[in-house]
């Protein structure tokens, strides 16, 4: 997982078995960077308080977070560029 600043928004990108998933990097609980946590299949686990989100839907799978994270469509362009659509 890596986080990128995209026009002022921190967006994390996870590679799950060759498929790229982009989502808001900022945990909705206390604002930690989700890319600083761990990824298990399509679940991202926040390193600060253990909140878990589905990176495909943004849904909260485990608190303490209550609100989902935004997710973004991704497209791999020629030349190895990853495009993230807001």
């Amino acid at each position: 997982m890596r986080a990128f600043d995209v026009h002022g928004t921190e967006i994390a990108v996870a590679n799950v078995g060759g498929a790229f998933h982009a989502f808001a990097d900022t945990c909705t609980h206390r604002g930690c960077s989700l890319a600083g946590g761990d990824l298990e299949e399509t679940t991202v686990i926040c390193a600060c308080h253990g909140s878990e989100f589905d990176v495909t839907s943004g849904e909260v799978l485990q608190g303490p977070a209550r609100e989902p994270i935004a997710t973004y469509e991704t497209r791999v362009e020629g030349g190895g560029t990853l495009e993230v659509a807001g």
Binding site: C32, G37, D38, E40, I45, A47, C48, G50, Q62, P64
Partner: protein
């Protein structure tokens, strides 16, 4: 006739158990009884973001207020249980109602320990357990006000930090040498001490309060060591004790809380316990442990609910909690009361490390400051009771996930 499951205690464990009974399809009567006059809520924000006025109470609610009615969960909030009759399988409430039960879950939590100190009844002296307690402390917060925090366990440490962050001058008094010493020990406590010192908190250790003094209201705190601290208010955080009185006379075994087996069952048929007040036989640590933290309440309550339905699932979550103090994230996983070796990965000076508490080569627990990812990766090592060399544990280039057999972090 439909069965009735009664849950005594409407904190996170009780609320979670009630929700779980419905999720699992239980179609009998569910009655959730709580002494506080509000639905179940989470307490971690009370010493942090809610205390600092950064988050509304509604964010701490376990479920929206309509949840209980929608799920046909009968609630009695602001009501206490006065007696449990285990022979007749019936409880008596202080609203003069009697409720028969087929199964009962005790999840009455804990109460703050009150140490007899002269002047403790003066106005302006608070402790923190409920949102009502927190609201009283919040009303005292004003930049330039001076607070004395008595006890630097987790609650005291978090409150001291939140008060400083709110512009209050803070002095702390603790009988140990460093904050959190009882749980984390000298070396890690020293790091936490530095954090508090850096934020301008007056730290008085190895000392005890002799008296709270004032006319009607606390005006100063004197210590046995001769300190005299003028103050506007005081917050006392000297630990909690399990609330077991409602089960008196039932024959339920009580020893540091209510003794339960790995299935959250007491020795009395039909009575279960979970949360802060349950002294639970943990299959990993092979001993009874009583845990007073959010995650235990969140997960053990539902586990007890499933076992009330006959699922026979041992509860074996590794205890875990966090403590945010200023900009620092502290996390702990496992359970230890003594250790013979502390293995550190990272730097205590840089306040970025995980430390492993080991005894006879077995890893019992880990604590991390600003290194949450490694802390979470340590949980499977604790769960599997791996014997791992100290060299590997302390080497930051070794991914902790590679040191155990395929255990999930979730």
């Amino acid at each position: 006739m439909a069965e009735t499951f009664v849950i005594v205690g409407a904190g996170l464990a009780g609320g979670g158990a009630a929700a779980t009974l419905r999720e699992e399809g239980f179609d009998g009567r569910v009655v959730l009884i709580g002494a506080e006059p509000r639905p179940p809520y989470e307490r971690p924000p009370l010493s942090k973001e809610y205390l600092r006025g950064e988050a509304p109470f509604e964010r701490a609610l376990f479920q929206p207020p309509g949840f209980y009615g929608e799920n046909d969960i009968e609630t009695r909030f602001g009501v206490r249980v006065t007696r449990v009759d285990a022979a007749e399988k019936e409880i008596e409430l202080d609203n003069e109602e009697n409720v028969p039960y087929d199964a009962l879950l005790a999840a009455t939590g804990a109460r703050n320990r009150r140490i007899p100190i002269p002047g403790l009844d003066l106005d302006g002296i608070y402790d923190l357990r409920t949102v009502a307690d927190c609201d009283r402390i919040r009303a005292e917060i004003s930049p330039g006000h001076k607070a004395v925090v008595v006890g630097m366990g987790f609650i005291g440490s978090e409150v001291a930090a939140s008060l400083r962050q709110s512009g209050v001058d803070v002095a702390v008094v603790d009988q140990n040498t460093v904050p959190l010493r009882r749980v984390l020990g000298e070396e890690v406590g020293r790091v936490v001490e530095g954090i508090h010192r850096d934020h301008g908190t007056e730290l008085i250790f190895e000392d005890r309060v002799a008296a709270f003094e004032g006319t009607g209201r606390v005006e100063q705190v004197t210590t046995q060591g001769g300190h005299r601290i003028e103050c506007d208010f005081v917050v006392v955080g000297l630990g909690v004790e399990p609330v077991t009185e409602p089960l008196a006379g039932t024959g339920v075994q009580i020893d540091n809380g209510v003794l339960v087996d790995e299935y959250c069952r007491t020795n009395v048929e039909g009575i279960y316990a979970a949360g802060d007040m349950a002294n639970h036989y943990h299959p990993v640590f092979r001993r009874h442990i009583r845990v007073e933290h959010w995650q235990n309440a969140l997960k053990q309550g539902p586990a007890a609910g499933r076992n009330m339905l006959g699922k026979n699932e041992p509860y074996e979550e590794i205890p875990w909690f966090w403590s945010d103090q200023y900009e620092h994230n502290i996390q702990y996983a496992g359970f230890h009361t003594e250790w013979d070796e502390l293995v550190v990965r990272g730097s205590t000076e840089a306040r970025n490390f995980v430390a492993f508490y080991r005894k006879d080569g077995l890893m019992l627990a880990a604590v991390a400051i600003n290194r949450g990812r490694d802390l979470r990766r340590s949980i499977p090592l604790i769960k599997n009771q791996e014997e791992i060399s100290a060299a590997k544990l302390s080497d930051p280039d070794v991914d902790l996930r590679t040191l155990t057999r395929g255990a999930s972090l979730r």
